[in-house]
Point group: C2
Chain length 207, copies 2
């Protein structure tokens, strides 16, 4: 079993591997991966060995093979149907962000409560719909992941109804620890962590 | 010296400590912190011992003392002046987000290139200004951190000018690895990592 911190690093390696493969690289060494990510090559080799990703002496790892293995471990070798709840600034920024679709997360819908927003198009595939239709949308479009982009005061209520309609995975942007049954996974996004990671590096004037 | 992964965990503990302190808790044990964050108490005790954060047997850690120590380590015991570059969806969501100010990151300005946006107010303290004024804003308001919320195709150019005006720390939302001199720290925000962390947990049906 792969520990969560290792999985998080594999997701970071994956982005670099994707870039490398786009630039035509067939192999990559742990030392050049280490240089790009400011990590020790020994840490990278240890992480990759969790699933039998072994480099050949002198040539390194096969980029495509590594990507395929990481996709399977992270569960992104399949498509996930995603619903965004809350078509405000964050919700619409995510709906427009090609990075999610490229990694296997397809935005199948975006809902809101505001009359002014319902009916507005985001792009040719996506129009803001009424949150009252959520149950039907989750069932008909086989939604597996909900993204909470609503104000704090309604977050728990919205989460309760999303769970009631059968969703088991949540990406939560609301800065509040929300309660859910044991079989529902919630992943909290805290953008302020990146700011703290930066201030830590600046006061320690690290690389 | 504290390793980066430990610093990242300290930032996560900090948010829970802040909540606990708001709810009036004076002490907290590593086991209750562990339950809230789904981490092993031994990992928490190890992390906190890096800076001499020791709990007393039976009563645990003093919440305020821990917060003060973590603030110092993460460099959030001081105020950072922040400039947001790009007043689009992400930029405006950050400008409106109280979580940043609470953690010591004060948004001192937000700039854009679009005539339609320049002059629009965000709230009573903040109005979108012209990116052409950036050099003056960075100097007069002693900006230390720049937040890149611009399209990919202009990101490197915008970064070069921000660095030229003396900024040493960047939070980057643009999905591109940007080049900067060694003394400039860039912290990449990848929201899709949270989606991958979720899909990993869902396929491994972890807690
Ligand atoms: N995690 C972070 O680091 C971070 C950063 C910025 C913002 N945020 C949070 O993300 C959330 C969204 O932020 P934003 O800037 O996009 O806010 P916003 O006000 O622009 O958007 C919120 C949207 O939710 C809609 N809404 C309200 N009640 C609803 C309901 N019951 N069902 C469906 N939609 C509903 C509103 O109509 C609005 O369109 C907020 O909770 C904010 O605090 C988090
Ligand atoms: N990291 C992530 O996970 C993630 C998620 C969503 C979006 N994004 C990225 O964040 C960036 C912003 O996204 P958005 O949805 O807010 O886009 P947006 O189009 O809503 O906003 C971009 C803003 O930048 C302004 N701009 C363009 N050139 C400029 C310049 N030279 N100087 C100053 N401002 C300039 C535009 O006028 C616009 O207001 C994009 O690069 C997007 O790919 C990243």
């Amino acid at each position: 079993k792969i520990p969560k911190p290792v999985a998080r690093r594999l997701a970071i390696y994956y982005r670099v591997l994707k870039e490398q493969s786009k630039n035509g690289a067939e192999t990559i060494s742990s030392s050049s991966l280490g240089r790009m990510l400011d990590l020790k090559p020994s840490q990278i080799r240890k992480d990759l060995s969790y699933f039998g990703g072994f480099g050949k002496r002198g040539t390194g790892y096969n980029v495509i093979d590594l990507m395929k293995s990481i996709e399977k471990i992270l569960g992104i070798d399949k498509r996930w149907n995603v619903l965004i709840i809350g078509a405000g600034k964050i919700g619409r920024a995510l709906a427009n962000y090609p990075g999610l679709i490229q990694d296997g997360f397809t935005i199948k819908g975006i809902v809101d409560v505001s009359e002014k927003k319902i009916g507005k198009t985001i792009d040719e595939h996506l129009t803001i719909e009424d949150v009252a239709e959520m149950e039907k949308i989750i069932r008909e479009r086989k939604i597996e992941i909900g993204v909470l982009c609503v104000p704090s005061d309604v977050a728990q209520k919205v989460l309760n109804s999303v769970i009631q309609y059968g969703i088991k995975g949540i990406v939560n942007f609301v800065p509040k620890r929300l309660k859910a049954p044991k079989d529902v996974m919630i992943e909290d996004v805290q953008i302020s962590l990146s700011f703290k990671a930066l201030s830590f590096r600046m006061v320690n004037s690290e690389r």
